[in-house]
Amino acid sequence: MSSSVIPRGQVDLVDFVDWSGVECLNQIGKNPIANALKQGYRDDDGLHLESDADEQLLIYIPFTQVVKLHSAVITGPEEEGPRTVKLFANKEHMGFSNVNDPPSDSFNISADNLKGKPVTLKYVKFQNVRSLTIFIEDNQGGGDVTKLQKISLYGTTVDTTNMKDLKKIEDH
C-alpha cells in the first residue's frame, strides 16, 4: 500500500472504534464491514466489503470516546468503488429511509481517493463525534455491487488531546 499523507497531529482512529457496536446494512455475509475497517483486514487486498441487494451501504461506527474527525481514506476498485458518500455525525439507528436527511458532510470519491488520497472533511462539523454513520449512495461504475477495500478515519480525541503525545503517522 502506498503511503498516505496524514496531516500532522492527527491519529488513526481505528484504535477508538467500539467494535461491539459496528453495524453495516446491506453488506453481503461473506464480505462484511470488518474487512474494510479492521487493522490488517483493510490492508489485505484479498478482503473487501461488498454490498448485497443493491449498490448502497449504510455503515454505523460508534467510538469508545468522543473524537474529532479530520479526514478519511476510502479506497476501492476502479469500477465498483464508492462514489457518492454522505457522513452523519451522532445519528443513531439510521435506516435507508432517512438517508436523505441533511448530512454532516457529503462528497464524491475521485479516482485518486480510491487509490489512497485522503478526503479532508468539514472539520467544524465533526468536533464532537460519538458515532459516525457513512452512507454509500452509489458506486463509480453504476452497477449493482459496491466494493470497498479500506475505510480509515483520521482525527483526534477530544478530552485527551495532548499535542506532545501525537506521533507522526508512519508509512503503512
Binding site: 446491506n26 448485497d52 441487494a53 448502497q56 435507508f96
Partner: protein
Amino acid sequence: MATMICIDNSEWMRNGDYTPSRLQAQADAINLICGAKTQSNPENTVGLLTMAGKGVRVLVTPTSDLGKILACMHGLDIGGEMNLTAGIQVAQLALKHRQNKKQQQRIIVFAGSPINYDKKTLEAIGRKLKKSSVALDVVDFGESEDGKPEKLTALVAAVNNNDNSHIVPVPPGSNALSDVLISTPIFTGDGEGGSGFAAAAAAAAAGGMSGFDFGVDPNIDPELALALRISMEEERARQEAAAKKAAEDAAKGEKGTEQASSSNDATMTEADNTSAIATDDKRHNLTEDEAALLEQALAMSMDGGKAKSVDIADADMPEATAEDPELAYALQMSVQEGVKDSASESEMSKVLEDPSFVSSIINSDISSMATIDCF
C-alpha cells in the same frame, strides 16, 4: 427478536376449506406463534396488523405482553381484499420503531387470497427488506391462481439472507393450519429454542386427534400433562355450568367473551356479569382441541352422563381438591349430574344462582386458561 404478523382478513377468509374457517385457522396459528415467541425469550416482541378490510391497520405494535396480543385477535372484521405490499411496508415501519433497536426484525405474512401485484414489484419489496436486515416468513394458503406460489417464492427468495426467510405452502385439508406450521421453520427457526416449544405444542395439539389424552405429554413433560388435565377438568365443569346458564339467560355479546377468556384480575367484576356466555360464541375463541373438548363436555351434560365422565372426574378429584375447594365442588356437581338427571339440573341452577360461587369458578378458570394460552 421483534416480529410483525400480517393477517389476511379479506373476504376469502370466510371459506371453510381450512377448519373451522380460514380466518379462525389463521387465528389459531397466530395464537400459537405468539405464545411460542414470547415463551422462548421474554424479550421477544410481537405485533399484529390486518391487510384487508378498509385498509392496512396495525392492531398492536410489537409488545411482549401476550395477553394484549391475544386480545387483539378477537372481533376481527372480514372483508375487502388483502394489500400485500402495503401490509409488508407498514410492518417494516412498525418494526423500525421498535423500542429495542438491537432486536432482529421479522415479518410473518399469512397470504390466503389472490395477489394483485406482479413478481417484479414483490421482488423489489423483498430486496428492500433484505437491505434493512428484515427476515420474512410467508404462509401460502388458500387460492393458488395467477402464479401466487411462484410470486411468493420469488418474494421470499429476494429477502432470504443465509436461510433466514421461508415460505410454507399449506394446502387445504383436514389438518389444522397450526398443526402444519408447528413443524416448519416458522416455529422452529430463529435458533432461539423454539423447537422445544414446538415439540410440546405438537404433542398438545395432537392430543385432540390421537388416542392419547394429550399426545405423549406424560412422557415428555409430566408437569405440562398435569396442568393440561386439571385445566381441562376445570374447563369442562365451567362449560357445563355455562351451558346451563345460557339456557336460562340471553346470550351476552362477544366483548364479554373476550374479557372472560383473556383478561387479568383487574376485570374480574366484568367477568361476573358475563358468566352467561353463549357457548357458540365461546367456541370461536377456543383452539380446535379445546372446541372438541367443549363438544364432548356438552354432549356429556346433555345426555345426563356416561360412565366415562364419572371415571375421569373421580381420577382427578384428589389433585383438583387439593388446589381448589370450589373446583372440587364443581366437579362433584358434574359427577352427580352424570348419575342423576333432572334432579341435578335444579341443583345446578341453585348453585349458579350464587353469583360469588360462579365468579370464583371463573376466577380460577381464567387463571388456568391464561396459563394455557401462554403455552
